[in-house]
């Protein structure tokens, strides 16, 4: 099992350019998440998905869009990148255990994005 993988690992964009970050998981998890990590801010949730074809906003969704067309993939899009979106982006996934405790989130290695 590869777990959670993220593509690309590093990217430099110019202001106004667009890009898509790909997250893939091979654990058959229902839930998937996109976070951004900034110094002194911890991890902040951008968007998440509770199943194929569903998405929901997190704490900092503005400027980002997501799609979950396949259960194993969760895409994060930046339509018009801004310097404020320079960050490290992490994807995570977890299983759904109805009626049970919150399951562990498993994280990918991260994507470093620099917007000039």
């Amino acid at each position: 099992n590869a777990g959670v993988t993220q593509t690309p690992k590093f990217r430099v964009l110019k202001t106004g350019q667009s890009m898509t970050l790909l997250c893939a998981q091979d654990m058959n998890h229902e839930y998937m998440y996109w976070y951004r990590q900034d110094p002194g801010m911890g991890l902040r949730l951008i968007h998440y998905s509770v199943g194929e074809g569903t998405t929901a906003k997190g704490e900092v969704p503005d400027g980002y869009n997501v799609s979950r067309l396949k259960k194993q993939n969760f895409l994060l899009g930046l339509e018009s990148a801004a310097p404020s979106q320079t960050s490290v982006y992490f994807c995570a996934s977890r299983s759904l255990q109805a009626g049970g405790p919150v399951e562990t989130q498993y994280f990918g290695p991260g994507t470093r994005l620099l917007v000039l």
């Binding site: 902040r44 998440y48 919150v102 498993y106 990918g108 290695p109």
Partner: protein, 113 residues
Amino acid sequence: AQSVTQPDIHITVSEGASLELRCNYSYGATPYLFWYVQSPGQGLQLLLKYFSGDTLVQGIKGFEAEFKRSQSSFNLRKPSVHWSDAAEYFCAVGPQGAQKLVFGQGTRLTINP
């Protein structure tokens, strides 16, 4: 609303010394609590978690944490740190059945040889 506070942004300890990282949470009911570790350039790895039962939880790499409801705390401890423990540590909270976790700001741990 849920929140998590890690009061210490940066801690430095000597190798072999004991360690305690603080985590305070705000939540109305019994929360589910997690500690994650992030090594430089890596993703987050789960160290331990608390759902219910024994308030002293054992994790990987020799770490443990104690849930204290009266103090709304979930502090992480290790009796003797190793140089490889240098990393950033995140506390997180989520209510029962929650779809989302709330993370603290993180504590960066430096180990002096």
